[in-house]
Symmetry: C2
Subunit: 241 residues, 2 copies
């Protein structure tokens, strides 16, 4: 395969032609109903109410983690915030830059490379709490986010309570994860688009209870939950203790 | 993965719920824009003109090779033909049987298990000429179809001229195939649906010139081509020499 930026290539194609797709492959062999990247380009009036409600809690200078095509960054910029987007995908950085985001290619694991103490809000929208990886890697990444944020900063992070399902494929995956010592929603996935495939990566989805457990070793605490209508999807608001 | 009938599972889900999908993975890592199995259930008025035109040439007792959800078999039954469908997929056999097809689970490679000399027409619709596999396996499979058909039988086989493309991914695959001694359109693919994946299988697509070369060692000859409007898709009519 030519290179590994399948996600960025799918975004780029959608940005340039309006046609694209994305296949997400899970490490138990599951492939889901394929989607288009349209969501990543969607306007705020197409979002769930909980998304806009949660983002109203943004204050000051914003770091958008995994900015993708920039939908959250653009929304917050329009509301007067100074926003920096980071994404590990060169294609995402290119697309979101073209759409007007101050986007930088940076893996969230390297977020300490940014200036210390300068952000007042971290946004991890579109399930991007998942970018903390696993229960094991989360403390270091959340520590990095603590380092680049101000003393009273908040994280607005979206995730999903994976237990709100009766899909046998998903329930079997949760059990597979438990057996290998992972949280049930500790996804290991890759994105495929045409001949492109990302490397396999960890993407964590947690219930509020699991989230509390994951952030326990960090300076962050869960102060509020903004639920979507489906009762599974939600934004967590984290503040420094 | 639970078992290998991904294609049949995708058909079954569509048959039962109207919702399904199918991801086709090629052995160079390419995954295409994913589709739904809706085509396999489509009515004749949704087909290309060349499909109905070609199937008008059916005579007598019909063998539908790779009958899938049975769209060709049902069409020909309604036009008065005695039709037997074969498919290697248990799910396809189940679905097409429920829809009224006399469907039997049989790999086309084992078609000699059927009664000799009893079919007057073989239909390989929906690109199912591809089920001959490769240039190497085609003569044995076409020999099997000769054995189960009458003296003046015909094969109505759909395929696609893969050279009618300027997609760089496809052109690179053709070159990859040439380098390993295969015809450019000698696809090696598997179908994935949720946790199901078929085994990798060969599925040949050929221009009329390549088709002549492939059938040259057999009793069959190409007597006519019924082209679709796109100039790439076509039905070949084969007759015994």
């Amino acid at each position: 395969m030519p290179h590994d930026d399948a996600y960025g290539e799918a975004l780029r194609a959608y940005h340039e032609t309006g046609e694209s797709f994305e296949v997400v492959e899970r490490d138990d062999g599951f492939v889901g109903p394929p989607g288009t990247p349209a969501l990543y380009f969607s306007d705020p009036d197409e979002w769930g109410d909980h998304e806009r409600t949660a983002l109203e809690r943004a204050e000051g200078r914003v770091l958008d983690v995994g900015c993708g095509a920039g939908r959250h960054a653009l929304y917050l910029q329009e509301r007067g915030h100074d926003v920096v987007g980071i994404d590990d995908s060169p294609g995402a950085v290119e697309v979101s830059s073209e759409r007007g985001v101050d986007a930088r290619q940076c893996d969230v694991a390297d977020v300490r490379d940014l200036d210390a103490g300068t952000f007042d809000t971290v946004v991890m929208g579109g399930n991007n709490f998942g970018l903390v990886g696993t229960r094991t890697t989360a403390p270091r990444i959340l520590g990095g986010l603590a380092a680049v944020t101000s003393a009273d900063a908040r994280i607005l992070a979206e995730t999903r309570d994976v237990h709100a399902t009766d899909d046998p494929d998903h329930l079997a995956y949760h059990e597979f994860n438990r057996e290998r010592g992972r949280l049930p929603g500790a996804l290991r996935i890759r994105v495929r688009y045409k001949r492109h495939a990302t490397l396999w990566f960890d993407y964590l989805m947690v219930s509020p209870e699991e989230l509390r457990e994951v952030i326990e070793p960090t300076v962050w605490e869960l102060v509020d939950v903004v639920e979507a209508d489906d009762g599974a999807q939600y934004y967590a608001e984290l503040r420094k203790e």
